[in-house]
Symmetry: C2
Subunit: 107 residues, 2 copies
């Protein structure tokens, strides 16, 4: 769903990726990593979609929170599996969200 984030500024990590055909453990570890991210200090929310390209955006209070999450020991193991098995290519972009606005249709 669309993440409910606080007033900017906050931070976003855009993870754009192409998968390999290998599935070994991917779905399990991906959902474990989503759960684990949620428990991290400074975590604000997450959005995901995949067609040919997969895009996951996670939102964070600070660059420091992102750095902590990147170096989380279980996450490091998942990142290693990611490079060895699951991802053909990815780009991770660390961003400062400067403005945002939302629309919701009337029911």
């Amino acid at each position: 769903m669309i993440a409910k984030t606080p007033k900017p500024p906050y931070y976003a990590v855009i993870f754009s990726n192409l998968r390999t055909p290998l599935d070994e453990g991917y779905a399990l570890i991906a959902s474990q990593m989503s759960e684990l991210a949620r428990e991290q200090p400074g975590y604000l929310g997450q959005e995901s979609a995949r067609q040919e390209l997969g895009i996951t955006v996670s939102y964070w209070e600070s660059l420091d929170a992102i750095k902590q999450w990147k170096s989380n020991s279980e996450h490091l193991i998942a990142q290693e599996f990611g490079q060895k098995k699951w991802y053909k290519a990815y780009t991770t972009r660390i961003c400062k969200v400067e403005r945002d606005y939302s629309f919701e249709a009337e029911l």
Copy 2:
């Protein structure tokens, strides 16, 4: 595909959206808007995926390029249709990409 963007800093617009069931003209206008975006000054690339949630990220050289694109007259009409017909809800986030890194598997 994963957008090839220059060295940071550059800007990203994260458009996270939920569609209505209405399809009237959506696919046509969405692809026209992608094409039109590509022709704008300062456009750097675009990534898209949709499952239940749709995420489109477009990349830009500057905040000014984003502002110009937001106020493009054809795009304004599409935005109005978007609110009236196609989108149940969306959030647009304007971000400064501060760092990025990429991985590509060896063949």
